[in-house]
C-alpha cells in the first residue's frame, strides 16, 4: 500500500488524539477549491509522524465532488450507492431506514440538509481541539463555506453509551503497517483501499476523472486523457446514531422483573449482555455465558462454530454475532471465515454527548447522546450495506425468523409495510426464551456516503483548470 498517498484515517484510529470535531460542510456560495488548496497542507497522510498535535482528514459526497469540478461522466465511474447518496429511497430500502429512521426525519444528509464534505479534526486534548478548530472555522468562513459541527470523542473508559467496551474486533488490513493481533481477521488491501487486489483476488472498479490542464501531479494517469482519481481512496460511511440509553436499560430491567428474577439488577445485566453478545467489560458470551469475568489479553480471539454451534452461550441474534458471524455461516470454519471477510468494514466511529449516570435502571435525562458511526470500505454495497441489510436487518439471518439486530436493527414491517413487534430469541434448554416488544434504542439522525480521496487526488481536486 502506498501509505504516503492514503489519508491517515485509512490506517489509523487516532487513539492518541481522543478529542475530535466532525464538520459537515456545505459549499454553496463559497469557494471550496480555494479553501481546499489552503487546507491541503494540513491533511494527514498515512505517512505522518505519530507525534503530530493534530490530525485532519477530508471526505466528499458526490455533490461535493461535483462542486469541485467532477462532471457527470466522472461521477458515473463511482459506485452507484455513493452517487445516489445515503438518503436516496433505494438506499433507504436497502438500509432499512424507514419509520423513525426515515431520511425525512434526519437532522442532516437529506432534503435541504445535504452536505458536500465531511472534515474530521482530531486533537490530543480539548484545549488543543478548540485552538485548532477556531483556525479551521475562520478559514471556512473566509471562503464562504457553511458548516455544522459535532464534538465527538473516544470514551475515557473505552465504553460506548450503553456501557460496553467498544472496538474489540477490528480486522487487520494487509499493508496497513501494523502487526496482527490475536484473533484478528486478515483482509486484503483492496477491501479497504481502491486500486489493490480485494478478497476475491481481483482489483475492483476505480473511479476516474478527466485530466486537467495545469495539474502538477496527476493521480495515476490512464489512457484517453483520464486519471485514476480513486486510487488510494476509500469510501467512507458516516451515520449519526442516537442511543436511547435509558430505554435500553429500562427494557432489560422490566424483562428481568417480568421473569421474577431474584436479583433483578444482575439479571438485567445478563439480558443486556445477551442482546450485545459481550459482557460490559467486553468479554464475549461465548467464553463466559453465565457471568462476567475479568477480561483476558484478547477480546477478539474466538469463533462460534466449535464453541457454540447451537447459540446456547451467545444467542444467534446477539449484536456481535449478527454484525460479524465469524466462522459460523458456511460449509466449514475456513470457508465461513473467508466468506465473512468479504463483508467487513474498518470502523472509525466516536461517541458524542455525555455519559448517562445513575443506578440501574437509569432515568432518562432527555440529553442526546450516541455514536457517530464512521466506517471505511472499498465496496459500499458488498461491505457496509451487506452487513446492514443481510446480517443486521435480515429477518432470516442465521436461521432466525422475523428478528432483527436487537440494538441497531431497523423496524420490521409486515407484507403491507406495517411495523411489527421487535423480538429476540435466546436458545435454551428445554426450549428457547423469547423477548418481545424490544424498544428501538438506536435511531439514525443523519448520514451520507463520502469518498476519502488519496493525497494526490486531493491535490488534483484543487489544482489545475478543467
Amino acid at each position: 500500500m502506498e501509505r504516503a498517498d492514503v489519508q491517515g484515517l485509512v490506517l489509523f484510529g487516532y487513539r492518541q488524539h481522543p478529542r475530535a470535531r466532525f464538520y459537515l460542510l456545505k459549499f454553496a456560495g463559497g469557494n471550496p477549491r480555494e479553501w481546499l488548496r489552503r487546507a491541503l497542507p494540513d491533511v494527514t497522510s498515512g505517512a505522518e509522524d505519530a507525534d503530530a498535535r493534530y490530525r485532519f482528514n477530508l471526505a466528499f459526497s458526490a455533490r461535493g465532488l461535483a462542486a469541485l469540478g467532477l462532471d457527470a461522466d466522472d461521477l458515473a465511474t463511482f459506485q452507484r450507492e455513493f452517487v445516489q447518496g445515503m438518503a436516496h429511497p433505494e438506499r433507504s430500502r436497502v438500509l432499512g431506514d424507514r419509520h423513525a429512521d426515515d431520511p425525512t426525519r434526519w437532522r442532516w444528509g437529506s432534503g435541504d440538509e445535504q452536505v458536500d464534505a465531511l472534515a474530521l479534526l482530531y486533537a490530543r486534548s480539548d484545549e488543543a481541539l478548540q485552538e485548532r478548530a477556531a483556525e479551521l472555522e475562520k478559514s471556512l468562513a473566509k471562503f464562504g463555506i457553511g458548516h455544522a459541527s459535532q464534538d465527538v470523542s473516544l470514551p475515557d473508559d473505552g465504553r460506548e453509551h450503553f456501557g460496553f467496551v467498544t472496538g474489540s474486533c477490528e480486522p487487520r488490513v494487509r499493508g496497513a503497517g501494523r502487526r496482527r493481533r490475536r484473533g484478528e481477521a486478515r483482509l486484503a488491501t483492496g477491501e479497504l483501499v481502491l486500486g489493490y487486489a480485494n478478497g476475491y483476488g481481483a482489483i475492483g472498479s476505480v473511479p476516474s476523472a478527466k485530466a486537467r490542464r495545469g495539474t502538477r501531479e496527476h493521480p495515476f494517469p490512464l489512457a484517453g486523457g483520464r486519471v485514476g482519481f480513486g486510487h488510494n481512496g476509500s469510501y467512507l460511511v458516516a451515520r449519526q446514531l442516537r442511543q436511547d440509553v435509558a430505554g435500553f436499560w429500562q427494557y432489560c430491567w422490566a424483562a428481568a422483573l417480568a421473569e421474577r428474577a431474584p436479583d433483578a439488577a444482575e439479571r438485567a445485566r445478563h439480558i443486556a449482555a445477551r442482546l450485545v453478545g459481550r459482557w460490559p467489560n467486553g468479554v464475549p458470551l461465548v467464553e463466559a455465558p453465565e457471568a462476567e469475568r475479568a477480561a483476558g489479553a484478547s477480546l477478539n480471539d474466538f469463533g462460534f462454530r466449535d464453541h457454540d454451534p447451537d447459540g446456547l452461550r451467545c444467542p444467534f441474534g446477539a449484536h456481535i454475532r449478527r454484525a460479524n458471524p465469524r466462522d459460523m455461516l458456511g460449509e466449514s470454519a475456513e470457508h465461513a471465515q473467508r466468506e465473512a471477510n468479504l463483508h467487513r468494514i474498518v470502523r472509525r466511529g466516536r461517541v458524542f454527548g455525555p455519559k448517562l449516570a445513575g443506578s440501574l435502571p437509569p432515568p432518562d435525562d432527555g440529553v442526546e447522546r450516541g455514536l457517530y458511526f464512521v466506517a471505511l470500505n472499498a465496496d459500499i454495497s458488498r461491505q457496509f450495506e451487506f452487513i446492514q441489510q443481510t446480517w443486521l436487518n435480515g429477518g432470516k439471518s442465521a436461521g432466525l425468523s422475523g428478528e432483527r439486530d436487537p440494538l441497531v436493527g431497523a423496524d420490521g414491517a409486515d407484507l403491507e409495510g406495517a411495523p411489527i413487534s421487535r423480538r429476540f430469541s435466546v436458545p435454551a434448554r428445554p426450549v428457547r426464551q423469547r423477548y418481545e416488544g424490544l424498544p428501538k434504542v438506536v435511531q439514525v439522525r443523519g448520514g451520507e456516503y463520502f469518498f476519502l480521496p488519496g493525497m494526490r487526488a486531493l491535490n488534483f481536486l484543487c489544482d489545475g483548470v478543467d
Binding site: 458515473a76 452507484r80 433505494e90 430500502r93 436497502v94 480485494n198 476475491y200 483476488g201 481481483a202 475492483g204 472498479s205 424483562a255 428481568a256 422483573l257 417480568a258 421473569e259 421474577r260 447451537d310 458456511g330 460449509e331 470457508h335 473467508r338 466468506e339 468479504l342 463483508h343 454495497s381 458488498r382 450495506e385 451487506f386 441489510q389 443481510t390 435480515g394 429477518g395 432470516k396 436461521g399 425468523s401 422475523g402 409486515d414 407484507l415 435466546v426 436458545p427 435454551a428 434448554r429 428445554p430 426450549v431 428457547r432 426464551q433 423469547r434 423477548y435 418481545e436
Partner: protein
C-alpha cells in the same frame, strides 16, 4: 394428503408486434390484483410474467424481432389440473394477462387453454426445488402449525421464559396442540410428505462421461476463441444497460424474497448448446446428489435453453440480490462458470471451471447486464424462507413420530 411432485411450467410465446408496451403496462399496473387472485390457487408456489425483448448476440445483432412473454410457475401435480386451477383463480384476469400473446386461445375453453400451455411450454434443462414433496397446502399447514405451537409456548411463559423443565413432557403437550391444528388444516403429522432423494441424478453424473471429456478437451479451443472475440467486443456497460440496472435496483428488495430473470445469448457454434446442456445436466445431477452450493436460499430455479439460442435463468430466492450473488460466487462459482462460459460476455474462464464467476466484480456486472425486469410475480408464502419451510416441515415430521428425549430436544430446538 401425500407427497406431490413439484413441476416447472415455462411458457414462452411471442407477443404481437406493437402490443408489448400495453402488456408490459397492464402487468405492472395489475400485479397486486394478480397476486391477490393467485392466492386462491391451490397448486401455485411461485409464478411470474416477464417480457423478454430481442437481445443482442455476440456480433451485436438482435435475436428475434418480437418480444416473448415468459410465463412460468412452480406448481404441484399435473399440468392440466394446474391450468384449470390457474383459470379458476385468475378468472377474468387471465385473458388480459396474456393480451397480445400469439396463439393464446382465451380462457373460455379449458381444453384449448391446456393445449396452448402444453404447446408453448419449454422443457427446463435444469430445475431445482429446495423443499421437494411439499405442496402449497402443506407449506401453509406447516406454517399454521408452527404459529399455534409458538402461541402455546407464549401462554406457558413468565416473562421471556417458558415454564417447563422436562423436554419430553413439553413436547408431548405441544403435540396435543398440533393434533388439533392438523385436523383443522387436513394435515397429517409425520413424514408422509417427504420425497426420497432422487437417485437418477447420480447416474447422470456418470452416464455421460464421454460428453464431459469432450467438453473439457475442447475447452482450450473455446477459451482461445473467446479471448480473441473479447478483444474486439465493446463494453456492455452502455447507458441503456445502466438505466436498466437502475430500474432493477428500484424494483428489488421490497420483500424478504426476490426474483431473478436472466436472459443471455449462447455463443456461436453447434457445440455450444450441446456443451451447455451437458453442463446443466451435471448441475442437476450435483443438486440431486444433495449438493446445495449457492442454492441454500433459493426456493425454485430453472435453466431453460430457448429455441433461439438464448439461455434463460429464472429463480426465486431469499434475501438481497447482493447476498444471493455473494453466495453464488462463494459457493457455486465453478458451476456458474461451467454454465456461463458458453454465453456471451461471460468473464474469461480457464478449463471451463476456473476464474469466470470467481472474478466477482465482472461476474456481478455480467449478471446485471443480462437481468431483465419481471413485470409481475407471485409467491404463495412470501414471508417464509427456504429454511423456514424446511424447519416447519421437520417440526411436523417430529410431531408425528415417537417423542423420545432426542426427538423432543430436536423439536424444541426448532421453535
Amino acid at each position: 394428503m401425500s407427497a406431490v411432485r413439484q413441476q416447472a411450467l415455462t411458457l414462452s410465446a411471442p407477443v404481437d408486434l406493437g402490443r408489448e408496451a400495453a402488456l408490459d403496462a397492464w402487468l405492472r399496473d395489475n400485479e397486486p390484483e394478480l397476486k391477490r387472485r393467485l392466492s386462491d390457487s391451490r397448486t401455485t408456489h411461485f409464478a411470474r410474467w416477464a417480457l423478454l425483448p430481442p437481445t443482442l448476440d455476440e456480433a451485436g445483432k438482435p435475436i428475434g424481432a418480437q418480444h416473448l412473454l415468459l410465463f412460468e410457475t412452480s406448481f404441484d401435480g399435473e399440468l392440466s389440473d394446474h391450468v384449470a386451477d390457474l383459470r379458476s383463480a385468475l378468472g377474468s384476469w387471465l385473458d388480459p394477462a396474456f393480451g397480445g400473446v400469439v396463439g393464446y386461445p382465451g380462457a373460455e375453453n379449458l381444453t384449448e387453454l391446456v393445449e396452448f400451455f402444453r404447446r408453448a411450454s419449454l422443457r427446463a434443462a435444469s430445475f431445482h426445488v429446495a423443499n421437494r414433496g411439499l405442496s402449497v397446502s402443506v407449506v401453509h399447514g406447516d406454517a399454521a402449525l408452527r404459529r399455534a405451537l409458538e402461541a402455546r409456548l407464549c401462554e406457558l411463559s413468565v416473562g421471556a421464559i417458558v415454564q417447563a423443565t422436562d423436554a419430553v413432557q413439553l413436547a408431548r403437550e405441544l403435540r396435543q396442540v398440533a393434533r388439533a391444528v392438523a385436523r383443522q388444516n387436513g394435515l397429517a403429522l409425520g413424514n408422509a410428505h417427504r420425497v426420497p432423494s432422487r437417485a437418477a441424478g447420480r447416474w447422470a453424473l456418470v452416464a455421460r462421461p464421454f460428453g464431459l471429456l469432450l467438453a473439457f478437451l475442447l475447452s482450450p479451443f473455446f477459451e482461445w476463441r473467446d479471448e480473441r472475440v473479447r478483444r474486439r467486443q465493446p463494453s456492455f456497460d452502455t447507458p441503456a444497460l445502466r438505466e436498466r440496472r437502475d430500474h432493477l435496483g428500484r424494483e428489488e428488495d421490497r420483500f424478504d424474497q426476490n426474483v431473478l430473470t436472466e436472459l443471455v445469448a449462447i455463443k456461436p457454434g453447434w457445440y455450444r448448446p450441446f456443451c451447455l446442456k451437458l453442463m446443466l445436466q451435471l448441475a442437476s445431477a450435483l443438486a440431486a446428489a444433495g449438493w446445495r452450493g449457492g442454492m441454500r436460499s433459493v426456493h425454485f430455479t430453472r435453466w431453460v435453453v430457448l429455441p433461439d439460442r438464448r439461455l434463460l435463468l429464472s429463480s426465486y430466492y431469499d434475501g438481497s440480490w447482493q447476498a444471493h450473488l455473494s453466495q453464488l460466487v462463494g459457493e457455486a462459482a465453478r458451476v456458474m462458470t461451467m454454465i456461463g462460459t458458453h454465453t456471451i460476455w461471460f468473464p474469461s474462464t480457464r478449463l471451463l471451471l476456473f476464474r469466470g464467476a470467481r472474478d466477482e466484480p465482472a461476474f456481478k456486472a455480467w449478471m446485471r447486464a443480462n437481468q431483465l425486469p419481471t413485470q409481475a410475480w407471485y409467491s404463495a408464502y412470501p414471508a417464509l424462507s427456504v429454511a423456514d419451510v424446511a424447519k416447519n416441515a421437520e417440526i411436523r415430521e417430529l410431531l408425528g413420530g415417537e417423542l423420545d428425549a432426542a426427538a423432543a430436544e430436536r423439536l424444541l430446538a426448532l421453535l
